[in-house]
Every structure is written in structure tokens, then in C-alpha cells.
Amino acid sequence: MNQITKEMRDLARELLASGEVKGLIGWTKGSRWYLTPPLFITRPEEAEQLYFDQFAVNNLTGLLLDYRYGDDKIALFVKGCDSRGIVRLLQDHQIKREKVLVIGVPCMGMSDKKAVTDPRQPVELPLLDKCLECRYPNPVIADRLIGGALVSGEPSEPKGLTASEAAKRGVGSKQADRFAQVKAIEAMSADEKYAFWQAQHEKCLRCYACRNICPACNCRECIFESDKKGWVNKSATPTDNAFFAVTRAMHVAGRCVECGECERVCPMDIPIMALNRKVIQDINELFGESDAGTDLDGKMPLGLFKNDDPEEFM
């Protein structure tokens, strides 16, 4: 058992036993070597089931939405990227600060299970793209820290117990390429772009996995499930899928925390982050560089009326 897992279990046991929190969200070892799915526990003895390794990739913050109207205090573990989801939910007033206990963990970089060829044969797997591009490997917000994790509200190098492992595995080594795909698509002709996206949207199953995992998708009633007629067709036709994809991106505009979970969970490998990043790039150009979900007191560029907002169209 690794050191971080041990610290996780100890802290979870303590928090649940003392009654400081009513429930705790973490990860557990799954049915296969490359699976470390989320786990929700309420009793101290369940702490033994917690587990952390390079497959604990799920961003757990969105799960807090299930408890948004409750009075129970919930603890959860966050990696650097996940932690920005906490800020998202707090800024969107979806959770109350005093009702959540954030435990920061250091991250060694998450492996890409899509590279698994033989489910019975554990092998060394490459890092996920989002980890190669990672700029916030350390939690931006936390009430407790384990594994030597450190809080940092700025882009930073991996810290804590896993720092050297993360560095070796290349966490953050492709930060500079964050907008590479956007640039590549921007360079296409209009027809090429259309063909490119049409091919992507044709694949979409409208399973809504991307939406469900997203901490920024926190509406009470998702427009794609609205019973209001006429907005969007629920069937998975290419046109409606395109409408869905663009609408989803616009709904998280200025609020997407770049956790990359939407793209990771998409069963059809649709490059969802390309759209998110395009929006981020444009917002940065228009309103100055900012990273959503890194500063609790920071104002969101699209949530603010400023006297000197650009108004070239007027």
C-alpha cells in the first residue's frame, strides 16, 4: 500500500469517527488493475476501501452537486486539476464553504487507460494528455493536505511525495501546447473545419457523460433535458449533436476549469477540449489572461460588467 493511500485512510477514519464530516468521497481500487473509480463512504470502517494511484483520475468535485441542498458536511479528495472544480462550485454558489472539507493530494500524473491492450496484463501506460498539459498539479484550495501536498493558486511544478515521479512521467511537460489543437483547427478552411467537426459530431451518442462529470455543468435543469419544446432535439442527429456540443461549450464559457474530464470520459473520443480551449483562448484575448477556478475571490471575465469592456462592435 502506498503512503498516500495510507494517509488517506487514516484521515478519512479520523474525520468520520469524530463526526466532523458525514460522508467522504474518494477513490477505491476497481475490478481491474487500470481502474480506480470513485467511492462514497459514511462509516470509519469503510476507510479501508480507499485507494489512490495513477488511475484515480475521476474529478470528484461534480459529485458534490448531489449534496448541494443538504446540511451534511462532506469531505472529498482533490488533485490539483480537480481542486479548481471546488472553486467553480463555490463561485457558482452551488456548495457552501462550510459544508465541504477539501483534502488536497499530490499527483503523480494519471495514466491513460485507453492505451491498455490486454486487460489481464499490467503494463506501464503513457500519461493522459491533460496531465502532460497540466499547469496546476497542486491543489489551489484545501482544508487539509496529505502526502506532502502544497496549496498553490498559481501555475506551479508538482510538489509533495509524488513530485519526482510526476516530473519523471512528464506532468506538465506539454503545457505550452495547450492551444496547439485550437491553432491547428483555426488554420483549416471553413469547409475543412465543417467537415472535421461534422465527423466528430456524427459520433456523439448524447450519453451526456461529458456533462455529468463537469463541475461547471451545475444548472438545476439542463437545457438538454428541458421539456420546453423547440430548444434542441434530444435525438442524436449530427445537427442536433453539433448544437449540443457548441451549446455545452458556451454554457461553460468563462467557467470551464480545464480539468479535461469531459474529453476523457467521452466514449467516442470527441475532442471536447478543443472547443473549451477555443473559448478560453478568445476570452483571454478579449479580457486578459485568466484561469477559471484558481482564485475564489477573482471575478469571472464573463460575469462582470466593466466600464472598459471591449466594445468593438459598437
Binding site: 441542498y69 457558482d92 452551488q94 444548472c219 435543469e221 423547440g230 464573463l302 460575469g303 460588467f305 472598459d308
Partner: protein, 660 residues
């Protein structure tokens, strides 16, 4: 299904020339919901409106669409027309087939096609319209005038004389503005102070006017009828209640500073009144130069003040006051001539501006009215004027004409000749523009009786040789170069907007042009209104103006302000935002984006799975909301809708367009 009427207007030939109006009306008959569709020469005319009203009654219409000009022109007409026939005025949609079709398209077939599309959208929208109602809001019967130049003073006097309290605010510590610096005024040559100071005094003593000098507007909240204005009253370090204006402090103050009022041609003290007739006529301390405030040494003014009025501890004070109307009269700045390096401007001391000359000519100015060169005090004989410096010059980003310079240069040449009969003025000009009563006559006299020599052409270079200034240029009428050995050069520097005009515009929520002049709501028909209801413009802040124009505009703005204040109450906007609480997630984005601070987050109790729970939702103050729609686009949940432009209505329009 609602019963919809369609009325297609020809606008004489304005629309009919490029759009087949009869055909448009014919096609519209088949749009869903349309029970009547017709066309007419002028829908806005009396018979046109009567026709609509009769149709409403006869066909029992629930709503109608008029395809005509821009709603900016006639939407109120057609809304009122509906109301007269007993229809809710918001059951009307106006589709613009003039500015958006006939005026921008040459091809009649295409213009017709587009008109039909727009109309189809309009019909689809009006089917989803709901009756809307406005409420009434009280009017705070007080006005704020920002800027106490001649324009601000005149506006304040007129509003005050109409019976409404006015606060006349100026950031400087006296009112008067630029006109106070001017010596004599064209075209009558009466002394500027003699006609200005009576007005300054009248404003100061008017029972309805509160003077608030040395104060600045920090923030403006609220809306027409009820603006909440945050004002910073800057620390003067002199308690005006105690000060008698005796001037003992100024006399004894050891610190001398170049006087801004005298264009730095003379000195003032650190505790000072800028000029003898200043209003209020009490000194303030310039904290940037006061020895005591800078390093704690001195304190003489406090010692000599017989009433103990000097108070080094005074701090800026922020107050919030409510006004029903605001007149902006912040004037202009003189163009900074140092942009013209080729003229040695800013480097050669004897290359000065018009305002410098005004001070040199003024009997109470730094030279007691004797014209002396700044460099050596010599009385100049040959004086060269260069016009359009910082005006009509694309290269300097000033394509506009500054309007007053042609006349004030003529005035200067006349006055110089009167003061110094041996002097000679040479005036380089591009054009001479004298549109104004008695202006051309004045200009003619300057040439014929005062011997001013007008040379058409631009000056290319000015440089010093010995104690002379060599002005090199081209006489474009004769087509040959000219060179004049001058003693003094006066650059007729143009008018610039105030350096911080854009900031003020943003604070007030009014618009400005690319240079920074405030923009009127309509260049011809609403020249003193801004796009923000309740805020009016007066004087040179709206564009270069001379005194008569500034005064006329000030009185016009005053009438508008007084007219607003005279209303018992205002009707609030009916097209406001409304939050669907069932959908609202309480994120608060709408609240932070609302420019009018009309949104609050409230907590509601609701039953959920048998239990009561609290939830945050957004709440729009219907009186404050101006219907700008910012919140509706910010809302990620689609919970916020603008009445009259609901998401459903817009979607219906998009659908209609796609169905063509």
C-alpha cells in the same frame, strides 16, 4: 392561435422603390396566425394609423406587425396606435424593411425576399408576445450639473430658475471654466470676465443652486429620475465655514508654484485662489506643493489665519446624493501643442498657444495686460499665428474643425493691433470659417481695418535664430515659399476632449466618439440628449463650440432636464428581465453583470421530498431594470429572460427564418 395583423408600409417611395410592398403583404397572408395583411403608403400618417386601429377592432386582432422603418423612429407611434385601439402596446412588433432592406439593397427582388423573411420572423415573434405593463417610479426633483464652465453655469441657472434645486459641481475649485481665462470675446470684444462673473455670482447666490466645487463624480448608480451619484469632495484644507477670504494666508505662504490659470506665465502660492473673481472666493491648499503637507515644515498659513480656518487634517469626503437628471458640461482641453515638434512647440518659449495670449492680453493677467514675450519680456512687433494646430489634421488624429480658432485668431489680431499699433500680425490658415452672426464682418474688419495679413498655406517649420523666430511655410495661393522673421508665434491650438472624458462617460454610462467627445442621441433631432435617459449634454464636451453655441446648448439641456423633473412620476421600463425561479441555480452571475445593480439574490423556501429547504434564486427589481439584457446572456441556465425578447421569442424568429 393568436389573431395577427400585418401592415406593410411603402414609406412613400423610400421602401416601395426597392421592395414590392404589395407582394410582401400578399405573401404574409399565409403566415401562421395572420388574419389580415395589407399595405399602405404611409403607415405612420394619421390615415395609416386610423386604418390600423380600425383593423384591430374589426378583425379582433391580438397583435400586429408593421413592416416599415426602424423601430428607433416609429416604435412608439405604433405602440400608441395599438393602445388607442385597446390593444396592449407590447403586442406590436416593428420589422425594419427600410434601413435593413430598401436603403441597403439595390435589387428589388432581393429586397423583397429579405423583407418577406424579416416579416415572417416578426410574425413568428409576435405570436409569442405577451401583454406587458410598466409601473411608475418617483422622480427625484433635483438636478446635477457636472462642470461649471459657461455651459454648466447657464444650465444650472436655467434649471434653478425653472424652480428645481441644482447642484453645480466642478472639479476645479472655482467655476468659470475656460471662459474665465479668455480676455475679450468675439465678435463683440466685450470683456469676458465682465459678462461671465455676473453669472458666476448669480449661480453662487441662487437659492436653488448648491455650488460644489473641488469635487468629482466617482460613481453613478440608478437610472433616469433617480441617479445615485457618489461624489468625492476633495480636501481643501481650509474650512470654508470659517474662512472669510481675507487672503492673509495666500500673502504669507512662502511656496510659489506656476499658475495653471495663467498658463504657467505667472506664479501662484500653495494656498491660493486661482484668480481674483474666483467663485467661491476662498483659498484652498494645493496638497502637492504645500510644504506643511509634504514634509511637516512651515504651517505659516495656519498661524496667520485670523479665524483658524486652515485645517491640515481635512480628508476627502465621499457623499452619495440622489438626482433626477444630470447635465454634463465638462468642456474641453486645449490641444497639447508639443505634438508639433516641427514648430518647436513646448521647446521654444515664444511659441505659445491662444490661451497663453489670452492671459498675456488680460489686464489682470501675469503681465497686467502688456504683451511681453515669455522668453525675455520683449514687446513683440511681428506676430505670426498658425491656425489649425491640432485641428483638421488626420496625421495628429484630429480630423475635426475646432470651430472657435478662426474667430479667436481674428480677435487676437484685432486686439494686438489695438494694443500695439506698430505691430503686424501674419496669419497662416487653411480656410477661414466664419459661420455665425456678425462673424464674417468681424473677420473682414480684422483684415481691412486692423491690417492683419492672411496667408493661405501651412507652416512647415519654426526655429530660432538669435532672438527671432523663423517661420517657414508655403503661400499656396501664390505657390511660393514664405519665410517670416517673427518675435512671437501663436499656435491656434484646437480643442481636445478632456483627457478623462472617456472615464466620465463610462461612469455615467453615456457614449463618446472616437476622439472622446460625448455623443448626442441623434445628431439632428436630439442634439442635447444622450442615449442614457435623464443625462443631457451642454457645451464643448459634446464637440468644439464657442460661447454662444455653448450657452444655447446649455439652455436647451436645461429645458430637457427641467421637463423631466416636472413630471409627477416616470413610467418604468416594461421590457425587463424576469427570472424563472424553478430553473435558477442561484449562481449569481446575473447579479455581478447587471450594470444597473437591479438584481439581488434572495432565498426561497421550498418543499423537496417532504422536507423544507432553502435555495438561492435571483430576483430582478422591476423598477430598476433597464432591460439591457446582459443578465439573460450571462445566465448559464437560461433562467433569465427579457420580457419582449424572451428566449422563446428569439427562437421562434430563428425557426421562422430557417423555414423559408
Amino acid at each position: 392561435m393568436k389573431r395577427i395583423g400585418v401592415f406593410v408600409c411603402h414609406c412613400g417611395s423610400n421602401i416601395a422603390n426597392t421592395v414590392h410592398c404589395e407582394k410582401v403583404a400578399q405573401v404574409a397572408k399565409d403566415f401562421p396566425g395572420v388574419v389580415l395583411s395589407t399595405d399602405y403608403k404611409y403607415m405612420c400618417s394619421e390615415p395609416g394609423q386610423v386604418m390600423i386601429q380600425e383593423a384591430i377592432r374589426e378583425h379582433n386582432l391580438d397583435g400586429y406587425v408593421v413592416a416599415a422603418c426602424s423601430p428607433r423612429m416609429h416604435e412608439p407611434t405604433f405602440r400608441k396606435c395599438a393602445a388607442r385601439a385597446g390593444m396592449n402596446p407590447y403586442m406590436v412588433e416593428q420589422v425594419n424593411i427600410r434601413e435593413q432592406c430598401s436603403w441597403v439593397h439595390a435589387n428589388k427582388e432581393k429586397g423583397t425576399e429579405k423583407s418577406i423573411d424579416l416579416l415572417r420572423m416578426g410574425v413568428a415573434k409576435v405570436v409569442k408576445n405577451e401583454p406587458l405593463y410598466s409601473t411608475t417610479i418617483p422622480v427625484t426633483k433635483r438636478s446635477l450639473v457636472i462642470g461649471g464652465g459657461i455651459a454648466g453655469i447657464q444650465a444650472a441657472l436655467d434649471i434653478a430658475n425653472a424652480g428645481y434645486p441644482v447642484t453645480l459641481l466642478d472639479r476645479e475649485h472655482t467655476i468659470g471654466g475656460r471662459m474665465a481665462q479668455v480676455d475679450k470675446t468675439f465678435p463683440t470684444l466685450d470683456c469676458s470676465a465682465c459678462i461671465l462673473t455676473p453669472k458666476m455670482v448669480e449661480a453662487a447666490q441662487h437659492p436653488n443652486i448648491e455650488l460644489m466645487t473641488y469635487a468629482e463624480v466617482e460613481a453613478v448608480d440608478g437610472f433616469v429620475g433617480n441617479f445615485d451619484v457618489t461624489i468625492r469632495k476633495k480636501a481643501r484644507y481650509v474650512d470654508f465655514d470659517q474662512c472669510t477670504g481675507c487672503g492673509a494666508c495666500t500673502e504669507k505662504c512662502p511656496k510659489k508654484v506656476p499658475s495653471e490659470f495663467e498658463m504657467e506665465l505667472g506664479m501662484r502660492k500653495a494656498i491660493y485662489t486661482p484668480f481674483p473673481q474666483a467663485v467661491p472666493n476662498k483659498p484652498i491648499i494645493d496638497a502637492k506643493h504645500c510644504r506643511y503637507l509634504l514634509d511637516g515644515k512651515c504651517g505659516i498659513c495656519k498661524k496667520v489665519c485670523p479665524t483658524g480656518a486652515v485645517d491640515y487634517e481635512q480628508k476627502d469626503e465621499l457623499i452619495v446624493e440622489r438626482f433626477g437628471a444630470i447635465v454634463v458640461a465638462t468642456g474641453f482641453e486645449q490641444f497639447d501643442i508639443s505634438a508639433y515638434e516641427e514648430y518647436g512647440a513646448g521647446k521654444i518659449p515664444d511659441v505659445i498657444t491662444g490661451l497663453h495670449l489670452e492671459r498675456l492680453m488680460n489686464a489682470s493677467g501675469p503681465t497686467a495686460g502688456k504683451i511681453k514675450r515669455p522668453s525675455d519680456g520683449k514687446v513683440p512687433e511681428k506676430i505670426v499665428f498658425v491656425k489649425c494646430v491640432g485641428s483638421r489634421d488626420e496625421a495628429k488624429g484630429r480630423p475635426y474643425c475646432s470651430k472657435a480658432c478662426c474667430m479667436y485668431v481674428a480677435k487676437h489680431a484685432t486686439l494686438l493691433k489695438e494694443k500695439m499699433p506698430n505691430s503686424k500680425s501674419y496669419i497662416f490658415y487653411m480656410d477661414v470659417r466664419t459661420p455665425g452672426k456678425n462673424y464674417e464682418e468681424f473677420y473682414a474688419r480684422t483684415q481691412n481695418e486692423y491690417d492683419a495679413q492672411y496667408i493661405r498655406g501651412r507652416v512647415s517649420k519654426i526655429f530660432q535664430v538669435g532672438d527671432k523666430l523663423i517661420v517657414r511655410g508655403e503661400d499656396s495661393l501664390l505657390g511660393r515659399p514664405v519665410e517670416i522673421e517673427a518675435d512671437l508665434v501663436v499656435l491656434a491650438a484646437g480643442m481636445d476632449p478632456r483627457g478623462d472624458a472617456k472615464d466620465l462617460a463610462r461612469t455615467l454610462g453615456i457614449s463618446y466618439d472616437q476622439h472622446g467627445w460625448f455623443t448626442e442621441a441623434h445628431p439632428k433631432l436630439q442634439p442635447v440628449e444622450t442615449h442614457t435617459a435623464g443625462i443631457y449634454l451642454a457645451g464643448a464636451c459634446q464637440g468644439p463650440k464657442d460661447i454662444p453655441d455653448s450657452v444655447a446648448q446649455a439652455s436647451a439641456a436645461a429645458v430637457k432636464a427641467a421637463g423631466l423633473l416636472s413630471k409627477p412620476e416616470l413610467t418604468s421600463e416594461a421590457m425587463t428581465a424576469l427570472c424563472d425561479e424553478a430553473i435558477c441555480s442561484g449562481c449569481g452571475l446575473c447579479q455581478s453583470i447587471c450594470p444597473y445593480k437591479s438584481i439581488e439574490i434572495k432565498s426561497i423556501n421550498e418543499r423537496y421530498h417532504g422536507q423544507m429547504r432553502q435555495r438561492r434564486v435571483s430576483n430582478v427589481n422591476q423598477g430598476l431594470c433597464q432591460g439591457c439584457g446582459a443578465c439573460t446572456v450571462a445566465c448559464p441556465s437560461g433562467a433569465m429572460n427579457l420580457k419582449g425578447f424572451t428566449n422563446d421569442q428569439i427562437l421562434a424568429e430563428v425557426d421562422a427564418l430557417c423555414q423559408r
